[in-house]
């Protein structure tokens, strides 16, 4: 019930904002932030009440919807879903609060943000495959309007490309979902039954095709190279907070979906193809890092590091699903690492994109070479960016390190070669972030930025909360690990 409420509150508020209200423009931001904090609070309560010795899915709430299809309003969460959902709701609340130019359409902007929060939480909390798909698709609609309306540059082109590309992925996913649905008797979209029954056990042609459909859909969303081409464009042309949501929340749907659907429901098939997925992840790690290094556009650079980081997550998932089951310990470690990486990447890259949004609000300029010497001019902004960048390439003591350490420690036991090559990715990311910081903050200050102002109060508040979480997770990961490890143990322990 608590999860249903956390979904419905932002959804109803978004519906309210869909009507012409004629409030003063500044009220909308406060209203949206207040509403967006409600699910945060509820999810924290759900988190605290999560029973680590209980069943896999908890806080389950079920209402019949379309029984003749075997579809129902089923929500519930395991530790993995709850961790990612809680991170997402905080990030979106931050996005609602983060000051941004809404071009005089504050009501519509915040309506879409709240709608996006509801449907994003829906993806992570759904226990019904069709409900999952419903929310998965509705995300695209919300994101399309946010980018096309409030973006800059070639925003409409980017939004259309994003919508078409990811719809293609969604539909591939739908075919896979239907394949699973048709193979279970009696037909149902209930995830719990599908996980329990493993309907397409084996590696026949049908199982492989279903697996292919699911993975193509999720890989486009994640995205892994070579299906990532929608991402940089969409990021560069979105407003900062929307970019933060795109990177922090929407990309997680791909990796979360991998854990929830192919990994949990088609374990045998997953084992068969785990190595191929791991190789694909490795390609993304290296490709994302190298291409990011080559970017001169601040936002493009960060966007490509997302491809690299999602590569780590997928590597962890692939290792956790590999055939060698003589090292369940390592597999648990890898899957835990993948989950922590999702949370960490959401917080860290979310912060980085918030900061790029602040840059855009001040300068309308993303070219790294146009900057320099801002450390003295905007010390708080510089500090936040340095902290987030260090966290992003995995400095010990910060959240990124916990995640990457677990992923690589787990993967070494399973795919030692892949893990060793993958470490190169961390090296390159470190280089590219250091170079980025150097270009932005050190050297001489160009004449045109003498009026550059430091972060405002609201911006500081959002970044402080997110980066504090990054530090806390880095120093004391146990705040996060209890429920995650409980669920991971149940998932990996499955035959």
């Amino acid at each position: 019930m608590i999860l249903t409420i956390s979904l419905l509150v932002p959804l109803l508020a978004a519906l309210l904002l869909a009507f012409p209200l004629h409030w003063p423009q500044r009220y909308y931001r406060g209203f949206a932030t207040g509403i967006a904090l409600v699910p945060c609070l509820l999810l924290v309560i759900a988190w605290v009440n999560f029973d680590t010795r209980g069943s896999l899915f908890q806080h389950v709430h079920e209402v019949p919807w379309v029984p003749s299809l075997g579809m129902a309003w089923r929500v519930g969460a395991d530790g993995i879903a709850l961790a990612v959902a809680t991170m997402s709701s905080f990030l979106i609340a931050g996005a609602a609060f983060y000051p941004v130019d809404t071009y005089g359409r504050a009501r519509q902007y915040y309506a879409w943000i709240l709608f996006l929060q509801a449907v994003s939480l829906g993806v992570f909390l759904a226990l019904d495959l069709l409900l999952f798909y419903v929310f998965f698709d509705l995300n695209l609609v919300a994101m399309y309007f946010l980018i096309a309306r409030w973006g800059h540059g070639k925003a409409r082109f980017a939004a259309t490309k994003f919508f078409l590309f990811t719809l293609c992925g969604s539909l591939a996913l739908l075919l896979g979902i239907l394949g699973l649905y048709l193979s279970v008797e009696p037909r149902t979209f209930d995830m719990r039954i599908l996980i329990e029954q493993q309907p397409l056990a084996g590696t026949g042609l049908l199982a492989s095709l279903v697996f292919l459909g699911l993975m193509v859909g999720l890989i486009i969303k994640t995205p892994l190279a070579p299906l990532h081409t929608w991402l940089p464009q969409a990021h560069v042309d979105s407003p900062g907070p929307v970019s933060a949501i795109l990177a922090g929340v929407l990309l997680k749907m791909g990796t979360y979906g991998m854990i929830r659907i192919p990994y949990s429901m088609m374990r045998q098939t997953f084992e068969q193809y785990a190595l191929a997925i791991a190789v694909l992840a490795l390609v993304s790690i290296l490709y994302g890092a190298l291409v990011a290094l080559a970017q001169h556009n601040l936002k493009r650079r960060i966007a490509y590091t997302s491809i690299n980081h999602m590569g780590y997550t997928v590597l962890g998932i692939a290792a956790a699903g590999a055939l060698m089951s003589d090292s369940p310990m390592a597999q648990r470690l890898a899957l835990t690492g993948a989950t922590v990486e999702m949370v960490a990447h959401g917080l860290i890259t979310g912060s980085l994109f918030f900061i790029t949004g602040s840059f855009w609000q001040r300068t309308r300029e993303y070219d790294l070479d146009a900057y320099g010497g801002l450390a003295a001019k905007a010390p708080v902004l510089a500090f936040a960016m340095v902290l987030a960048a260090f966290a992003s390439f995995g400095l010990p003591g910060l959240a990124g390190f916990v995640a990457e350490f677990q992923i690589f420690a787990g993967t070494f036991a399973i795919y030692p070669w892949l893990a060793s090559i993958g470490l190169l990715g961390i090296l390159i990311t470190a280089a590219l972030f250091l170079q980025m910081l150097q270009k932005l903050f050190f050297g001489s200050l160009p004449q045109r930025w003498t009026e550059f102002t430091d972060l405002g109060r609201d911006e500081r508040l959002v970044l402080a909360v997110l980066l504090l979480a990054v530090v806390v997770i880095g120093i004391y990961p146990n705040v996060l690990l209890g429920p995650i490890e409980a669920s991971v143990t149940l998932l990996v322990g499955r035959p």
Binding site: L138, L167, C168, L209
Partner: protein, 473 residues
């Protein structure tokens, strides 16, 4: 004669006749009475149709007339769609001298379609096709002083005449093979012995004839012209009503073919060609009505997917009907919006619609998304059922092609959405009137509400079946 079994059809004929007489004698400014009469007739026919719901699947008139839930559902959708089209008409036509007669033709078009839905013999099939064709030729050319309308009417008539002739040839070939027109007899005879060449030719001819009504490849080219040139309420009518009748008629017809005859392969090719051609042609359209015409062609292709797998899975017939219902709702909403906007059709004229007419712009977006199949809109459940039964029927390649087509369709829908939402309006936008505006809004709400209440619709439609008498089990 069991006259009671054709009461809905009789009520339409009676209503059409009364309207014709009234239109002759009423002064022009009172022709609104004809609108009301038409609405009442449709409501009565609807009531009489629903009354047949409780009758279990049975055949009437010596087995050539089917009364089953498949027919009842199809007829209900047809009658409801006609009702909407009539609602859109009065403001469009009230300056026309022939306003009253218009409704007679509309009712006869609908009558042809519901005859198709019940036709269980090849004579009835021909009757339905000819009736709905003949009544709709003058409707398309109703604006006889406007060149595009007469051009569309001419194209529609020529294509129709050709298609109907081919259909007749097909029926005659089948009759020559078995010596009867009742589906039951044809089925038994064909199963016993059939010359495969004549059977193939006969089937191909009948299929071609029905493809005309469906606006499917190879006789789809009239659809965009009609959508562009015909009065918009007529375009709405012809893009929905005959299609539903023909789809159900085709579904009935393919069941009489022998099991070893590989008609699904042929049908799959027609479906693939229809959806792909329709979508590719729609991509660069700059004209809203033509765009809707082409998109309607592609939707016929999707519908044919369900007919393709009809004998391989029980879920195909419900899928077909759910899909058609979803398509009809969204498509009518779109044509209603165009009507409410006084038939404006150039993309450029839609610039900034979201600011001038936010409600109509929203209805257009929601209907587009429903046609794409974005959940939880009504169209999603249609597509879901369709994909599901296509996969179940082991036509995976067709489902994958449909998905590729869906992505293409999103592209051209988004082009218009961008113009409506992200371009500044250049001119004032006048509406046709409150009635068409209200109808548009109601249809838009319907697209969403029927999706949210999908359980009710599915529960009804999942019980459908075809009456097959004592053949085919």
């Amino acid at each position: 004669m069991p006259v009671g079994d054709i009461l809905p059809e009789l009520s339409l004929i009676l209503g059409a006749a009364i309207i014709l007489v009234s239109a002759t004698f009423l002064p022009r400014q009172r022709h609104l009475c004809c609108t009301l009469l038409a609405l009442m007739t449709l409501a009565v026919a609807m009531g009489l149709t629903l009354d047949q719901w409780s009758l279990t699947n049975q055949l009437s008139f010596k087995t050539v007339w089917a009364i089953d839930r498949g027919a009842v559902i199809a007829k209900s959708i047809i009658l409801a769609a006609t009702f909407i089209c009539v609602l859109l008409s009065p403001q469009w036509l009230n300056k026309d001298r022939r306003h009253g007669e218009y409704y007679t033709l509309v009712l006869f078009t609908a009558l042809g379609a519901i005859v198709l839905a019940s036709a269980n013999g090849s004579m009835e099939l021909i009757m339905g096709v000819l009736l709905s064709s003949a009544a709709s030729y003058p409707l398309v050319a109703f604006h006889r002083n406007w060149a595009p309308s007469t051009e569309a009417g001419m194209k529609y008539f020529l294509a129709g005449a050709l298609a109907n002739a081919i259909l007749l040839v097909g029926v005659v070939l089948l009759f020559g093979l078995v010596g009867d027109t009742a589906y039951g007899v044809i089925h038994t005879q064909l199963a016993a012995r059939a010359d495969p060449w004549i059977l193939t030719a006969g089937f191909a001819c009948v299929l071609t004839g029905l493809c005309f009504k469906l606006a499917a490849f190879p006789l789809h080219t009239w659809m965009p012209d009609v959508a562009q040139g015909a009065p918009v309420p007529v375009a709405a009518l012809l893009s929905v009503v005959p299609k539903i009748g023909a789809a159900v008629a085709l579904a009935r017809f393919v069941q009489i073919l022998p099991v070893d005859f590989s008609w699904p392969a042929l049908l799959a090719c027609v479906a693939a060609a229809t959806m792909t051609l329709g979508n590719l042609a729609a991509v660069w359209q700059k004209d809203m009505r033509r765009l809707l015409g082409w998109s309607s062609v592609s939707q016929s292709g999707y519908a044919l997917m369900a007919v393709t797998v009809l004998n391989r899975t029980d879920s195909a017939l419900p899928a077909l009907l759910v899909f058609l219902a979803g398509y009809a709702t969204a498509n009518l909403a779109l044509f209603a919006a165009v009507t409410a906007l006084r038939g404006r059709t150039d993309f450029a004229d839609y610039a900034g619609l979201s600011q001038k007419q936010p409600a109509i712009a929203l209805v257009i977006v929601v209907s587009f998304l429903s046609l794409v199949g974005i959940p939880p809109l009504f169209g999603f459940f249609g597509k879901l059922a369709l994909f599901s039964s296509t996969i179940e029927g082991r036509y995976l390649w067709l489902a994958v092609l449909a998905i590729a087509n869906t992505v293409i369709s999103l592209f051209y829908y988004l082009r218009l959405v961008q113009i409506m939402y992200f371009k500044a309006p250049e001119q004032s936008m006048h509406l046709l009137g409150k009635l068409s505006w209200g109808t548009t809004l109601a249809m838009g709400i319907g697209v969403l509400a029927l999706g949210l209440a999908a359980q009710g619709v599915l529960a009804l439609i999942n019980t459908v079946g075809f009456a097959t008498g004592n053949w085919n089990g």
